[in-house]
């Protein structure tokens, strides 16, 4: 039963838009799925104690490179997105290799990567002739905004299926990482780098692998976000706020469990929507007040996150019964 369960849920999720196609809930689901994929990408490395605050930068580069290639070189996102992912992986290499080589870990690592997201934000803003600066940037519409070539679709169902597929791949990647040697190596590194190195783990290389993977996935998420929203601005796809948002949602859901970041995305996005719909413009800022206090309380009282804590509870109950 538990083996079949993911397939049943997956089939139900794929079938959903054909049964139920109200645009607004579908729109919310697309957004939730794209961000879930993003948070999952962050947690792929975040769960090993590699807390990066640079993912806001990775997302920004992914989104802007794809959009710039499309507008200025008419390069289809089908090629543009892989290029953006390569660019981001290269940037990640540039930052992460020296960090790991010189053993910049913990909050030093967080602050160095934070510098990266600050730089990306400043570069996008400063290069306003190219990127439109803080006013934002829109990929040119092609064929009335509905074209496979340009990866632009007007109907929500297509987007829902794309986002669902990418999210599924993200979960699969994380699942595979969790069952690979890489996971054991990284857990050993997170415990004690010296001991891991003494046991024959190539510390720098193992950390680099997971970082490049996580960064490239984040770039894909950024590019998808841009293709779906058809509008990006430096503040919504890069900078510290976006980086912290990724950490926050993942922590709320639980970074150590597969579905943690997804649940985190659900909670945060639905909370923001409920506040926005319920209170209108009067609610501006309230969602972040709630996020902020929740983040603090989660870290103090539930560092395992919502899903992680529940899972641990269930595990305790079932072992007590056995």
């Amino acid at each position: 039963m538990s083996r079949a369960l993911p397939w049943v849920i997956g089939a139900a999720l794929v079938a959903l838009p054909f049964v139920y196609h109200e645009p607004y809930p579908l729109h919310l689901l697309v957004i939730v799925l794209i961000w879930s994929f993003m948070y999952t990408s962050w947690s792929v490395m975040g769960r090993f104690g590699l807390v990066s605050l640079g993912h806001g930068g990775f997302m920004g580069i992914g989104a802007y490179v794809t959009a710039l290639l499309w507008n200025d070189f008419h390069l289809t996102p089908w090629i543009g997105i892989p290029i953006a992912m390569l660019v981001v992986a290269f940037v990640a290499l540039l930052i992460a290799w020296p960090c790991f080589r010189f053993r910049i870990v913990g909050h030093y690592f967080a602050l160095v990567t934070l510098a990266l997201s600050a730089i990306v934000l400043q570069v996008i803003t400063a290069a306003r002739d190219l990127t439109g600066g803080s006013l934002g940037y829109t990929p040119q519409r092609y064929n009335g905004g509905s074209s496979v070539f340009a990866l632009q679709f007007t109907d929500k169902t297509t987007w829902y299926l794309i986002a669902l597929g990418v999210w599924g791949v993200g979960l699969l990647v994380r699942y595979r990482v969790d069952r690979s040697m890489l996971r054991y190596a990284l857990e050993a590194i997170a415990e004690d780098e010296d001991a891991a190195a003494a046991a024959g783990v190539h510390v720098t290389w193992e950390k680099l692998k997971i970082t490049l993977l996580s960064a490239a996935m984040t770039a894909l998420a950024g590019a998808l976000y841009c293709q779906y929203q058809m509008f990006i601005s430096p503040d919504t796809v890069s900078g510290i706020s976006v980086s912290l948002q990724m950490v926050f949602a993942s922590v709320v859901g639980g970074i150590y469990v597969l579905l943690g970041p997804t649940i985190g995305a659900f909670i945060t996005i639905l909370l923001a929507e409920v506040l926005r719909v319920g209170f209108g413009t009067g609610a501006v800022g309230w969602d972040n007040i709630i996020y902020g206090s929740l983040l603090v309380m989660f870290i103090i009282f539930l560092p395992q996150g919502l899903v992680g804590t529940l899972q641990a509870k269930f595990a305790r109950v079932s072992t007590a019964r056995a």
Binding site: G106, A115, I299
Partner: protein, 290 residues
């Protein structure tokens, strides 16, 4: 090479020094807290933002004299520092350092949006126009000069406090060895609270100076925050002398590149310099080579 020594360059260099003074003050508070409590307050710049709002309301709305408002502000942000420590940091003292950093990240969100809700997103300023000094064809803002002077004075007072008083000595001792000092009869909890108060007060002092040069809005913290963290890391977290030197290097890069290009590029170059230096000296500028 007549261009290199042109008057604008000298003006930019002087402005860089003046900016460096303020940045040094910002870095000092963060470094003190890191050095003693081993915590990074990601929301440090948001405390400054609140201080700036405090100045705005006291001075502009309630017509409190500037100096009195400044004193109230410094004390107020100092109290905020203590509250932050007691509510957020103290329960997490035993947790992983990264958790403390993320929790203060939550405080950053909270303060930023609380300010949005309470004060709105309008840009506000005190409406004081301080004169501009004209020295030999160069224009130097009086506000910056004042900020530089006050920042230096603040640093000297802090230095004397740390060097000359019993509490100051205890603070320095605890930053050197966290485990042994409680055995020597130093109450670590009390020292942490005092340090948080001083860190907050330094943010308050910075706020009273910055409010003369910048408009206040809820997101102003994002302007100073990243720069301050980078300066601290560049100088070596917790290393106050390193932070001091790094502030001036940073300020000169921002100021001089801002002269030739846009101000944003100044920041880009400064941040790029930071990353380059992390490769060259990962433990900070002033670190002893091991």
């Amino acid at each position: 090479m007549p261009d290199i020594f042109d008057i604008y360059l000298i003006e930019a260099l002087i402005n860089g020094v003046l900016l460096g003074g303020v940045l040094a003050l910002l870095a000092l508070g963060l470094n003190l807290i890191f050095g003693v409590i081993d915590v990074v307050w990601i929301c440090y710049a948001e405390l400054i933002m609140l201080g700036m709002y405090g100045m705005f309301f006291l001075f502009k709305i309630y017509h409190v004299p500037f100096l009195l408002a400044a004193v109230l502000c410094i004390a107020g942000v100092g109290v905020l520092g203590v509250v932050l420590h007691l509510l957020v940091i103290a329960p997490l003292l035993g947790a992983a350092p990264i958790n403390q950093l993320l929790a203060t990240g939550g405080v950053l969100f909270f303060l930023q949006s609380a300010a949005t809700v309470m004060f709105g997103i309008d840009f506000r300023n005190l409406g004081i126009r301080l004169p501009v000094l004209a020295v030999a064809d160069m224009y130097i803002s009086y506000a910056r000069l004042l900020a530089f002077g006050a920042a230096l004075a603040g640093m000297v007072v802090l230095y004397l406090f740390l060097a000359r008083t019993y509490t100051g000595t205890a603070i320095r001792a605890i930053s050197q060895d966290r485990q042994i000092m409680p055995l020597m009869g130093v109450d670590a909890r009390r020292i942490y609270i005092i340090t948080s108060a001083i860190g907050g007060a330094l943010a308050g002092l910075a706020a009273t100076l910055l409010v003369l040069q910048y408009d206040v809005h809820p997101f102003i913290g994002l302007t100073f925050g990243p720069t301050t963290f980078m300066i601290c890391v560049l100088g070596g977290l917790g290393n106050m002398v390193g932070g001091f030197v790094a502030s001036f290097i940073f300020a000169e890069i921002i100021s001089v590149s801002g002269l030739y290009l846009d101000l944003e590029w100044g920041y880009v170059f400064a941040f790029g310099f930071f990353i380059a230096m992390m490769f060259a000296r990962p433990q900070g500028l002033m670190a002893r080579r091991s």
